[in-house]
């Protein structure tokens, strides 16, 4: 994708924001929530921001600061981050007061120049707005007296009480406190988290309290009398949604002048799980090295550079240094983490940690808790479970090999590159499978005791009544049905693997779900029911054998989880064979095809859905390009187009028919054999003096060939019954030359027809 003409945005003034506001993607709602605290009439007293690691929480607060700073006459923004370098509560409190007065004075003077270079405290008195001079001078004097007096608690309360004092003197502020998890490490007798909670809850000044989600409330909890934070809103800050992450990659590619394409953009999003910090680090690295990211290889090279020596490497190094400053212990920790990561399940007992790190409990538990809060591991009382994020595990593996095993760096770089490159198509395949899944869990979550046509949950009945009938007619038929099923009210829906991890061995997490609910009122044991659902991966109607396997699997999950009453519901894109339906009826299980699920979804939450195609113009007189959406017989449009093009070269009618048929088959193949993310088929027609070359490509996963057993254990031969998978055979018969190749992120089929052969 050329980025030259994209996103012509005017540069915006930044004070604390580290990235341009136009590149701050996907957080506008959160930004609005924070800035809405500024007016005195705001209904909220503050916000708790529970942030996932590397989700960009600090940047959110910094962007909010810049936005609030520009709102003249409103509350003054104050941003303060607790750092891990701070030694004591008193030091943190003193720095807070200094920061508070600096930023307040800067805002009230409308002069951002000294926000990043704070003057001395006494100089701030002279810089203050005349209306603030008196109370600031008095505050500074009181501060100096209290400091000299040695009463630490009084000093801390004075410093953190400054916003309330200022507000009482007409200088209202919005205080943004960042990285609250670092408060835990501050030495001294004072529980700073508790002090902050008190100040933020009982003053007139709105506070935004932001920290890592596994540590925030622990710091602010208040011990045996937990604070309630009445009037506070909550923001759960996680990785960016996929669409926003894609936009971020595109924006950064534009601003950093890095070439990307759709395939690499999507890979980058998947590599970093939507983390804006990692994505930005990666794109800056590509810019620094002047690398164009137009292939998976180039992307993985930068990825490996980042893991082994870039900002991402430094982030993980810095966390480990913070967790254990001793070099020897850190080395032992890396070995331990690496060994645990390579164990089945990534778990290891806490006792093993104690022995191998040779640490006393008072040193060991803070270390384990710090890893837990940063989500690099999960601490579950008796064992530690290493985080599964690929990025962290890649870092760990490389660090172990370099620092512990002392392997040559070149070997580690080469191996890491080769391994991550091999993994890239799998990463994308996993993404496509996830995107193409039938979303049973989401659908179940919408069950709320509605009544729906029974045929929607019985494939055999649906097929008997509606096979070969247009959707509009089916909808009318469903409306007229008198045999209705009352759906349960689902109160909790989750992936099956969350209940029974072994299911991950046989299917993707999103393809199997468990939903707890009630099939009648009142909420009693008798009415409690669990729906167990799974999506069977089958190109044709699922056969009896695979259906039986899945019925047994789900029943086993139900039994092993101790569900008293459960109902099975199987889904397969094309439904179930007659024999499979018979089995499902015997087992009292529900069954649905993709079409039934779509109809059911529309009935539970009617929303319009649809797609549109795009036709690109030609870029040369003898070359034509066309993009069509998959489905809805759009292959006919392609066939008509290629007919007109072939006529230009005077192909005989029979040859034209053969080209049309081959193209139709290629389009069907592209639609059927890929879990395409954009659902588009890209076609290029090139006329040469004696031939027509047609190239058909699509992005997405290459579905395994029918002769291979499916991932979920079904016998594909049984399912196919030898009647599908003819497309490529036909194309080879109809065209003179056919080349089928797998490219970085999908497939490409090139077909040639000669004029005279």
């Amino acid at each position: 994708m050329s980025t030259d003409n994209l996103f012509k945005a005017a540069p915006a003034k930044r004070i604390l924001g580290r990235i341009a506001p136009e590149n701050f993607i996907g957080r506008s709602e959160h930004l609005r929530e924070i800035t809405a605290l500024a007016p005195a009439t705001s209904p909220r007293s503050g916000l708790l921001v529970h942030a996932a690691p590397a989700a960009g929480a600090s940047e959110l607060l910094r962007q909010a600061y810049d936005k609030l700073f520009q709102q003249r006459g409103a509350a003054s923004p104050v941003y303060f981050a607790f750092t891990r370098h701070e030694q004591t509560v008193v030091a943190a409190a003193r720095r807070f007061l200094h920061t508070f007065l600096t930023q307040l004075v800067a805002h009230r003077r409308a002069d951002a120049s000294f926000v990043n270079a704070p003057p001395a405290l006494r100089d701030l008195i002279d810089l203050a707005d005349p209306s603030d001079y008196e109370w600031i001078e008095r505050l500074v004097m009181t501060y100096e007296r209290t400091r000299e007096g040695g009463d630490e608690l009084a000093l801390v309360r004075l410093c953190f009480g400054a916003p309330a004092l200022a507000a009482a003197r007409g200088a209202r502020s919005v205080v943004l406190l960042d990285e609250i998890q670092n408060v835990e490490k501050l030495g001294g007798e004072i529980e700073l988290g508790n002090e902050i909670a008190q100040v933020s809850m009982h003053g007139e000044v709105p506070f935004v309290l932001c920290g890592l989600r596994r540590g925030l409330l622990d710091e602010l909890s208040g011990g045996n009398a937990p604070h309630r934070f009445d009037g506070f809103g909550t923001i759960h800050l996680e990785g960016l949604k996929e669409a926003d992450a894609r936009t971020l990659v595109e924006r950064l590619a534009f601003t950093e002048r890095v070439s990307i394409n759709d395939e690499t953009r999507d890979l980058i999003v998947q590599l970093f799980g939507g983390s804006p910090f990692y994505i930005a680090s990666f794109m800056y690295s590509a810019h620094r090295d002047n690398v164009s990211l137009t292939s998976f290889l180039e992307c993985q090279k930068i990825y490996v550079d980042e893991i082994l020596g870039g900002r991402i490497n430094r982030r993980f190094n810095s966390i480990l240094e913070e967790v254990t400053p001793s070099h020897t212990t850190r080395r032992a920790l890396i070995r331990l983490l690496h060994d645990a990561a390579t164990n089945a399940g990534g778990k290891s007992p806490v006792e093993a940690w104690r022995r191998r790190l040779e640490l006393e409990p008072d040193e060991l538990y803070p270390l384990m808790f710090a890893l837990h809060v940063r989500e690099l591991a999960s601490f579950n009382a008796t064992f530690m479970e290493i985080g599964t994020e690929n990025l962290w595990r890649d870092y760990l593996r490389a660090s172990y090999r370099l620092q512990v095993a002392a392997e040559p760096r070149a070997l580690v770089v080469a191996d890491t590159l080769v391994e991550t490159l091999k993994r890239a198509p799998q990463t994308m395949a996993r993404h496509y499978r996830r995107a193409a899944a039938l979303n049973l869990r989401e659908l179940l979550a919408r069950f709320d005791a509605q009544r729906v046509a029974a045929s929607l949950l019985h494939y055999d009945r649906f097929s008997r009544i509606y096979r070969g009938i247009e959707t509009e007619e089916i909808e009318l038929g469903l409306d007229a049905e008198t045999d209705l099923i009352r759906l349960p009210q689902i109160v909790h829906a989750s992936s099956c693997a969350a209940f029974h991890p072994a299911m991950l061995l046989v299917c993707d997490e999103e393809r199997c779900a468990v939903a707890h609910g009630f099939d009648a009122m009142p909420y009693t044991d008798a009415n409690e029911v669990v729906w167990l659902t799974a999506e069977i991966d089958s190109k044709l109607e699922a056969g009896r054998a695979v259906t039986e396997v899945w019925c047994d699997r789900l029943a086993q999950v139900g039994a092993s989880c101790g569900f008293k009453r459960f109902k099975l519901w199987l889904a397969a894109p094309e439904g179930f064979s007659a024999e499979a339906s018979e089995l499902l009826n015997e087992r009292g299980a529900f069954s649905s095809s993709r079409q039934q699920l779509e109809l059911l979804t529309a009935r539970l939450s009617p929303e319009a859905a649809g797609g549109a195609g795009a036709v690109a113009g030609a870029d040369a007189p003898d070359e034509f390009e066309m993009v069509i959406p998959m489905g809805s017989d759009t292959e006919l449009i392609a066939a008509h187009t290629v007919e007109q093009i072939a006529r230009r070269l005077d192909f005989p009618a029979e040859a034209i028919n053969q080209i049309k048929t081959a193209l139709i088959e290629a389009c069907i193949n592209a639609a059927e054999h890929s879990l395409s993310p954009d659902r588009k088929i890209y076609q290029r027609f090139r006329l040469e003096s004696d031939k027509l070359v047609v190239t058909v490509s699509s992005r997405g996963l290459i579905v395994p060939s029918p002769t291979n057993a499916g991932a979920n254990g079904n016998d594909a031969r049984e399912e196919n019954n030898g009647r599908r998978g003819w497309g490529l055979k036909l194309i080879r018969t109809l065209m003179d030359e056919v080349e089928f190749e797998r490219v970085d992120d999908g497939t490409r089929l090139r077909m040639t027809k000669y004029l005279h052969r």
Binding site: R464, L636, A639, T661, G727
Partner: protein, 134 residues
């Protein structure tokens, strides 16, 4: 040339014990299923032979053709002869490549198909269970 996908239901006629089903302009999954449905319905009510006429069919694809194999199966189970008529050259080539012509006869047009069926002994009435798909 096929201008648009015909969305109307499949038309069929009876000629004595023979049902004639007219395929639409594009033989694909949906139109194939419609033909299959119509054929099964005809067999269920006692038709003893089937003609599927492709007079209006300009284009076919392999999925549509694969469904025709299902029609052949259903006809064979009911011991009802099946003839495809008015198959254009392109479709005929596909039928040939994909092996349909091993199991069903081709006729130049509908009349030829009916003549062909009148020359064979049609089986006793043996209705097929409706909705039984393979």
């Amino acid at each position: 040339m096929v201008d648009s996908h015909d969305r109307s239901p499949v038309r069929s006629e009876r000629s004595g014990d023979i049902a004639v089903i007219y395929a639409s302009d594009y033989l694909n999954k949906l139109s194939g299923e419609r033909i299959e449905r119509e054929c099964r319905a005809a067999l269920a009510v006692g038709c003893r032979a089937l003609v599927v006429d492709f007079k209006n069919t300009g284009l076919v694809n392999s999925i549509g053709v694969s469904i025709m194999l299902g029609v052949i199966d259903a006809a064979e189970r009911a011991r009802a002869p099946l003839v495809f008529s008015n198959v254009n050259a392109q479709a005929a080539q596909l039928f040939e490549i994909l092996g349909l012509t091993l199991h069903a006869s081709l006729a130049a047009d509908e009349q030829a198909a009916l003549r062909l069926l009148s020359d064979v002994n049609l089986p006793e009435h043996r209705p097929l269970a409706v909705g039984k798909h393979t």
